[in-house]
Each structure stands twice: as structure tokens, then as C-alpha cells.
């Protein structure tokens, strides 16, 4: 493709729509990862939880009419989503139980959950559909998309708010962005959220004022399970409408990276997730140029590392500037005396 065509595609409303779409399955698990990280229980099973939730969402949604016939048709996708969330909760609960009650290393427990999800989903898929790869033979349901009325008539803005085809975004995209606000309010405005941050920073201190550290960490892991599950459901019931073995393709780990790149706060994490989404979208567009694909695939990680470096360099510069200001003031003072 010619560079002009590619640039035209990048500087378009559709590109923004793409970013919103590609970031969704990173934002949600990242919010989950943020909450558990802040509670001092890092959750590196986001990947596995997403995968399992993606699977159960599709399977329950698609086979629901067979298992529970007679319900109104619109209900099955929701049943699927519910099943996905339940499974996310269940897996998070396993991690929490093994870590908090049985003293298992939380990273090991989470790695085990990742393995469990990778194996378990394919095993169940094969048992249920006779297929080891994907559920493309199932009539896979999708959660509704939401179209904002009227804005579609406005050029550019319409595409930003309703996607490049003006057909709206999947509702989970909205959920993702709303979740950032909710997580912020939760962490900084509610008692439980405050306790959660306290527990993560100094569990002994939290315990000493009567906060039940274990309980808070349970809750944090469970919330992270739900949010990661929503990310998984987004992948299989919104972004795509199928389950494919390993379809999360490392997004759970990218989400974890977003938490740290975003300096462990909701807004930073959102920005980091958007950077990942944008880098992915950029990768897709630039891939049409005649450049070796491996170099194109390096774009997102390079962008990330650049962001990391720039952020920290700026912070250092800030500190140096503070010191310089003080020194100048001091010298001025001395002259005055």
C-alpha cells in the first residue's frame, strides 16, 4: 500500500474507533490487575481468567437454548456473560483460597490457573463440540451493541462515537470505560477501596486498625476476576463472536504491563491500555506497507518501552528542575543577606 493511503487511514475517525475497540479487552483486565496489585496480591492469572470466561460466555450463550430451552432468545447471551463472570469469580476464588488460606505462592497459584484455563477450555470445548480449535460451528451469541442516536449524522464525531460503520460499539466497550471511573471512585472514595490500598501498602498497619486483611485481599482478587472475565467476554462475545483456543494471545499479560506502565493508578492504567490499543491499531495499518512483518510486530513493544523511558526521564528532569530552582533561590537569598 502507498504511504498516503496508510496515513489517511491512520488520521481518520475510524482509527480512533479502532483504538477504542482494541483497548477494551486490555482496559478491563488491567483494571482488575490494578485492584489486585494495589491490594498486594498481584494477579498474573488475568490471562487464564479471560480465556476461561471467554469460553464459558460463548458456550453457555450458544448451547443455552439446548440446555435451558424455552427462555426468550435475548436472554441467552446474558446467561453466557453471567457464566463467564461466574467462572472468572471461581478461578479468582481458587487463587485467593490457595494463597490466603493454604499459603500457596500467589504467582505459582496464578500460573497454575493459566495452565488450567488453557487445558480446561480446550478439553471442555472438545467434549461439548467435538472441536479443538474454535467454536465457529456454534451459533455464537453477541452482547448488544449500543448506538448513540443522532451523533452518527455528524462527520468524524459520528465515527468516533459509533464506530467506523456507525453501528455502535459493543456494550462492553462502554463498560470498560465506565469501569475506569468506577474503579477510581472505589479506590479513592469508598471505605473498602481505601482499606484495599492500605492493605496493599502496609498489611500489618491495616490489620492493626482492625481491617480484615485477608477479607480485603479476597475481595480484591474476586473483583479482579470479574473484570478480567469481562475482558474475556468482550473478546468472545463482542469484539469477536467465537471462542478460539488461546484467543487471549497474551492480552492478560499486556494488561498487567499496563498496570505498571500506568504507574498503578486508574487513569494512568487507562492511558497505558490505550497506548497498547493504539500501538496494535497502528501495527495493523502499517502492516500493509511493504515492511517486514516482524518489524511491524515490534511496534507495540517499542512504543511501550519508549513511553516507559520518556515518562521516567521526564520525572527525573522534574526533580532536577526542583533542585535547580531551590539552588537559585538560595543563592539569591544569600546575595540579599
Amino acid at each position: 500500500m502507498s504511504l498516503e493511503t496508510v496515513l489517511a487511514s491512520i488520521f481518520s475517525a475510524a482509527f480512533i474507533a479502532t483504538i477504542l475497540r482494541t483497548s477494551t479487552p486490555i482496559i478491563l483486565p488491567a483494571m482488575g490487575g490494578l485492584i489486585s496489585e494495589l491490594a498486594g496480591v498481584i494477579n498474573i492469572a488475568l490471562e487464564g481468567i479471560m480465556l476461561a470466561a471467554a469460553f464459558f460466555g460463548v458456550v453457555v450463550g450458544a448451547l443455552g437454548p439446548e440446555w435451558l430451552p424455552g427462555l426468550p432468545g435475548w436472554i441467552y447471551p446474558w446467561l453466557g456473560a453471567l457464566a463467564g463472570i461466574t467462572v472468572g469469580l471461581g478461578l479468582a476464588l481458587i487463587i485467593a483460597f490457595f494463597h490466603l488460606e493454604l499459603g500457596a505462592d500467589i504467582i505459582m497459584a496464578a500460573l497454575a490457573i493459566n495452565i488450567l484455563a488453557a487445558g480446561g477450555t480446550v478439553f471442555l470445548m472438545f467434549s461439548l463440540t467435538g472441536d479443538k480449535g474454535s467454536t465457529s460451528t456454534l451459533a455464537s451469541p453477541a452482547l448488544p451493541t449500543i448506538t448513540i442516536p443522532l451523533v452518527s449524522y455528524i462527520p468524524f464525531v459520528g465515527q468516533v462515537f459509533n464506530g467506523e460503520n456507525l453501528s455502535g460499539y459493543n456494550m462492553i466497550t462502554y463498560v470498560a470505560f465506565i469501569s475506569v471511573g468506577l474503579v477510581w471512585v472505589f479506590l479513592y472514595r469508598t471505605r473498602l477501596g481505601t482499606h484495599l490500598r492500605a492493605v496493599g501498602e502496609n498489611p500489618a498497619a491495616a490489620a492493626s486498625v482492625g481491617i480484615n486483611v485477608k477479607r480485603v485481599q479476597y475481595i480484591a482478587l474476586l473483583i479482579s476476576g470479574v473484570l478480567a472475565a469481562l475482558g474475556g467476554i468482550n473478546l468472545s462475545m463482542g469484539y469477536l463472536t467465537l471462542f478460539q483456543a488461546d484467543m487471549t494471545a497474551g492480552r492478560g499479560f499486556i494488561a498487567l504491563a499496563a498496570v505498571f506502565l500506568g504507574n498503578k493508578n486508574p487513569v494512568g492504567t487507562l492511558i497505558a491500555a490505550l497506548i497498547f490499543g493504539a500501538a496494535g491499531a497502528l501495527e495493523a495499518q502499517l502492516g500493509t506497507l511493504n515492511i517486514p512483518s516482524q518489524l511491524i510486530t515490534m511496534i507495540p513493544p517499542l512504543v511501550t518501552i519508549a513511553a516507559l523511558v520518556i515518562y521516567n526521564l521526564r520525572r527525573q528532569a522534574q526533580m532536577a528542575a526542583n533542585a535547580r530552582k531551590f539552588q537559585e533561590k538560595l543563592e539569591a537569598d544569600q546575595k540579599a543577606v
Binding site: 479502532t18 467434549s127 480449535g133 469477536l240
Partner: protein
């Protein structure tokens, strides 16, 4: 579990196609001990194309000929393959051991001579018979470049048609899983076919660097659509599932690969099926079914390579009902003409190997 019906009904129209009603079952029942076949998968099932197709062929043979079959999945970890092969050879009972892909050649050349009274089949890659090795090995390869040439001809002709979702621009695309020789073989054929049909055609070529990330497949396809392509040929296994979704969502078109993929998704998602104009079929299933059949009849040419191209029904475009409905007569004629030219050697298709 439920009946795995979907995996066997991939209809295809080539000559080696076994009859579904199982008319031929009775003949092979006479053997006292059934033939034992092992399908060795140096990867994972579930790729929706290559290995699944092989599995389908063996499954069909089990049904039709009453043989016994077992599949060993060695996984993606190449360091474990050799161990798995040796383990299979030493500990499993079999009459025929089936391998696929070029990566198995070296192992086969090493081990086949050690087991002279066993038979081996390798598909999609030939062993080297020159050093007197391997008269117990039958190799079968597919000219995916020929089939892909037709896909290229077809895409180049369709992109300017007056059809819902097609634009007048002459841009088409392809999405490969990895930049590896066998995928390049598809792409080279596709691009040659397209260029020889319309020298002004612009062809986008992209690799996902992944076999199982449909979300990425979807984004790549959407990027191509946004840049003016209206038909995308996917050769990316699970990643390609996303290409179909993108086509359905953006109202554009895709070309499937290996199996007749429109028929696979048809029941579940008719809208999506209607966006898969055709598929470039690589009939691994039929070729294995046929090989086992020939073996039972004592006619399989061990010690030889069979190259299955269009002529042999090894590859070809899926001319299913969507193809029939959506393709204008002149385009059909164009494709048929190209096919004829390949058959009679007028067109030589380049290869990606």
C-alpha cells in the same frame, strides 16, 4: 458429548471425495485384524485447516473402511517432537504412521529405514528418495500455488464487480499466519493470478505472526478494508476466523483456505458464510482417505511422491452455492479458463518454496 457432525461434512467436489453414505464399507471388513493407523500431528489439532483436515481424512477412513486409528498430538514445542516420534515408534502398534509438513522429513528419513516392515505416509512434503531411502514411505504434496492462482484470478476479477460491498478500486489483500515457505506458496500463486488478470491490481500482503489470535486477524482485515481492499484471502488458521468476522461486519468479502470454510460456518452464522466468496481448498483429508483406501487395495505407490494439483483434485476453488450466487458468469468463465490453462500447462505457477 454431542455428535461431532460438523467435522465430517465439509463437502467438496473433487474426485477423491468419499461417498458419505458409506457404500464401500463392506469390502474392507473382510480383513481379520483391522489396519492400525497413527496420525502424528506435530502441532495441535484445532487449527481449522491443515491438521484438522488430516484428522478429518483419517476419521472418514475409519468410518468407511473399519480401520483403527489413533492421533498423537506432539504439540507446538519442537524440542519435544523427536522424543514423541521415537516414543511412538518404540511403544505403539501400527501399520501406517502418518506425518505431515516439511519439518518431519528429516526424522522420517532417519527412522523409516529402521522400520522396514512398517509403512509411512507423509503429506504436504516429500522425502528424498534419491539415496535409496524410504521405499516404505509414500509422499503426497499439494500444489497450493495452483489453487491460489485461481483464487488470485477470482479476487482480481471480483474486486471491480458491481456487488454489495465491492468498490471500483482494484485493491485486494491477503493475510498469512507466518512468513514461512508453505504460506508463501499460497501467496505467490495468489498474487501471480491476480496480476495476470489485472496488471494494475494492488495487493496488500500482511502477516499476523500468530496462528491463533482471531482478534488480531480481524484488525488486520479491517485495516485492509479501510485502505480500499474488498476481498481478503486468509491463510492464517485460527487467526483467519477474525478475517471472516471483519468481512461480515464491514460488509466486505473473504476467501477461505484449506477447507470449504463457508460451509463450516454456514449453520452457525449464515451472514458470515455469505461473505466467504470461496475457499482455496487443499484437500489433505481426501488425499489421506484415498491413500488409506489405496493401501487397503494394495495399490498405494510407496517409494514415490504424488503431487496433487488441480488435475488430481488435490487443490481447487470451492464452487459452492455462495460462489454460484455471487459470481457473475463472465468471472466464472475467467476462472474456468485459467484452470484449464493450468491443466494444459499454458500457465506455469510460481512457487513460494
Amino acid at each position: 458429548g454431542g455428535s461431532p457432525a460438523a467435522t465430517t461434512d465439509a463437502g467438496s467436489s473433487t474426485s477423491a471425495e468419499p461417498t458419505e453414505e458409506g457404500a464401500g464399507v463392506a469390502e474392507s471388513d473382510t480383513a481379520e485384524t483391522p489396519l492400525k493407523v497413527i496420525l502424528f500431528v506435530n502441532g495441535l489439532l484445532g487449527d481449522k485447516s491443515f491438521f484438522d483436515s488430516a484428522q478429518r481424512g483419517v476419521d472418514q477412513a475409519v468410518k468407511d473402511f473399519g480401520i483403527e486409528a489413533k492421533t498423537i498430538e506432539a504439540g507446538d514445542d519442537q524440542t519435544q517432537w523427536e522424543a514423541a516420534i521415537i516414543d511412538t515408534l518404540e511403544n505403539e502398534e501400527f501399520d501406517i504412521l502418518i506425518f505431515g509438513t516439511f519439518q518431519m522429513i528429516e526424522y522420517l528419513e532417519r527412522f523409516a529405514p529402521e522400520y522396514p516392515d512398517k509403512k509411512f505416509i507423509i503429506y504436504d512434503a516429500p522425502v528424498n528418495y534419491e539415496n535409496g531411502c524410504c521405499d516404505n514411505v509414500y509422499s503426497v504434496t499439494y500444489k497450493q500455488n495452483e489453487g491460489s492462482y485461481l483464487a488470485g484470478v477470482y479476487a482480481a476479477a471480483m474486486t471491480t464487480q458491481n456487488l454489495d460491498g465491492m468498490n471500483p478500486e482494484t485493491i485486494i489483500g491477503s493475510i498469512g499466519g507466518y512468513e514461512i515457505p508453505v504460506i508463501m506458496d499460497f501467496i505467490v500463486g495468489y498474487e501471480q493470478g491476480a496480476k495476470e488478470t489485472n496488471p494494475d491490481i494492488q495487493i496488500i500482503r500482511q502477516f499476523a505472526n500468530s496462528w491463533d489470535d482471531p482478534a488480531k486477524g480481524k484488525e488486520l482485515a479491517k485495516a485492509q478494508f479501510s485502505q480500499g481492499a474488498d476481498i481478503v484471502f486468509q491463510i492464517a488458521a485460527g487467526t483467519g476466523q477474525g478475517v471472516f468476522e471483519a468481512a461480515a461486519e464491514d460488509g466486505r468479502y473473504a476467501i477461505g483456505v484449506d477447507s470449504d470454510q463457508a460451509l463450516i460456518v454456514e449453520a452457525a452464522d449464515p451472514d458470515q458464510a455469505a461473505r466467504i466468496l470461496t475457499s482455496m481448498m487443499k484437500n489433505v483429508d481426501n488425499s489421506l482417505h484415498r491413500a488409506i483406501d489405496l493401501h487397503l487395495k494394495g495399490e498405494l505407490p510407496y517409494g514415490q511422491i504424488e503431487e496433487l494439483g488441480i488435475a488430481e483434485g488435490g487443490v481447487g476453488l470451492a464452487r459452492n452455492k455462495y460462489y454460484d450466487e455471487l459470481t457473475p458468469a463472465d468471472v466464472k468463465a475467467l476462472v474456468d479458463e485459467a484452470e484449464q490453462k493450468i491443466l494444459n500447462g499454458e500457465i506455469m505457477v510460481e512457487t513460494g518454496f
